[in-house]
Symmetry: C2
Subunit: 313 residues, 2 copies
Amino acid sequence: ITGSAIMSDSKCVRLTGPLREQLLNSVDTVLFDCDGVLWKGNRVIPGAPEVINTLRRSGKRVLFVTNNPTKTRDMCLEKLTKMGFKASKEDIFGTAYCTALFLKNVAKVKGKVYLIGDKAVSEELKTEGITFTGPGPDPVHGGLNDWVKMPLDPDVKAVVVGFDEHFSFMKLAKAIAYLKDPECLFVATNPDNRLPLEGGKYLPDTGCFVQAVETAAQRKPHMIGKPSRFIFDCILSKHDLDPARTVMVGDRLDTDILLGFNCSLNTILTLTGLTSLEEAKSYQKSNCPSKRSMVPDYYVNSITDLLHHSLYN
Amino acid sequence: ITGSAIMSDSKCVRLTGPLREQLLNSVDTVLFDCDGVLWKGNRVIPGAPEVINTLRRSGKRVLFVTNNPTKTRDMCLEKLTKMGFKASKEDIFGTAYCTALFLKNVAKVKGKVYLIGDKAVSEELKTEGITFTGPGPDPVHGGLNDWVKMPLDPDVKAVVVGFDEHFSFMKLAKAIAYLKDPECLFVATNPDNRLPLEGGKYLPDTGCFVQAVETAAQRKPHMIGKPSRFIFDCILSKHDLDPARTVMVGDRLDTDILLGFNCSLNTILTLTGLTSLEEAKSYQKSNCPSKRSMVPDYYVNSITDLLHHSLYN
């Protein structure tokens, strides 16, 4: 009875056998998160390239959707290719690229961007013809009286916050000085709090810098990355696809799976990354609507489970 | 009818005439916030020193309670004295000092502190005999592979976050590496988001750094400053006072007035600082319990209204 009671809840089901065939037949497009799904750091998930390449051969459109703002599309393509994934630049949607698209096509920014970010966002902004100032070291100098008189660039019409290893008090102070003008746009590449590393270690991620600027500016940014639907709108602007015939595969509930929920996609959690099955199941049992919106439709131990087992024997 | 309806709500009442005499007779101790109350930056509020000195002469205990973590008690005393306020070191409770008291007397930290903070917190920690590492510039160097292998001090048993103009990615990364150990204590000096300056400008304040560390560490700190009652517990540990016969005077609803609410003190909002009467009244009309807890009992245009007008003619 317990078993059937659990199975009667139709979410967070292991994707295997006929269910897998049924799902794969019902979708045309498979969106893959990258880190924790295709690779972990610089180590490929065993069998992952064969999954991607087989899906493509069987006629599926495969796209890569990553919140990592420190890689351009070219950098992602290089990594995918080196690891044996068949891909082309048009298949890749990273937040550096999508931030540039947002500024150019949606916000239509007339002026310069003050950028708290690194080379990747800089490159993608350049490619889209958007001018900017900010990247690189900007260590604190002087004291209160100097900070008050800090020179500002009158052409700046937007502040973009991404991952910036040179984040500093001066950058934070400049960002809030620009954001004091309600007409100045506030954009964040992605909300990820921390980057998980091997051995249970973490590094600070973009979300820390975004929170610091939000706290000082008392404003909320336009968020580009997952779970914001803007990154999916970017995909829709470049590919003609049907959300009902699309599945999002990812390792994070609060970005990948929630994006799927927000955009009415099918969702698959893969357990090779950040999230354990226990965590997903605890969200499923929760009464909290925001947690329940992060429960995947299906889960797999690894994306190799997406293919018929015999392929690997 | 409208007028009497407003007056029937017994909070946020202008403190004047017999009401002022009644309140002052009912209290022994007056707690004053400093910036926005006694001075604005380096400019004294006209008449403020006379108010403090007259209250003292009439037998009141006057204490200074400030969230500013960039001043030691000695530095506060120097500023007070220079501006004409009669004060002694024992009357001053700043968050640099109270953080040191917390670590020593409450948390009883056995080991070193990793400090994101400046000279003032360093000085107060030294005075209380607490060892620490961290202050000063720590610019980013190397890349991901170096950050992963970042050397940590095994003696660190607490992370303290205050105002630090040298805040950097390395400091953030070290803080979360220490905080990965649930036994490592996490303490923040004060939650203030931004420092208001003349001309409607702002500078980033301690709260930005605290939020960045919270976001990366996924932990909440012990908060020392207002509105946390710890700063009031510090006062209680040094002075024998009765909350019911104490009044807190401040210019911020979310720190000064909320501290009063949290510690069952009488509260007076002064309008020389950050908060307008309209803002306080809008909190009073709100249905939100957290906003209503920030409504002051009384307000004055300036603390000079605390004394009988004739004193100033």
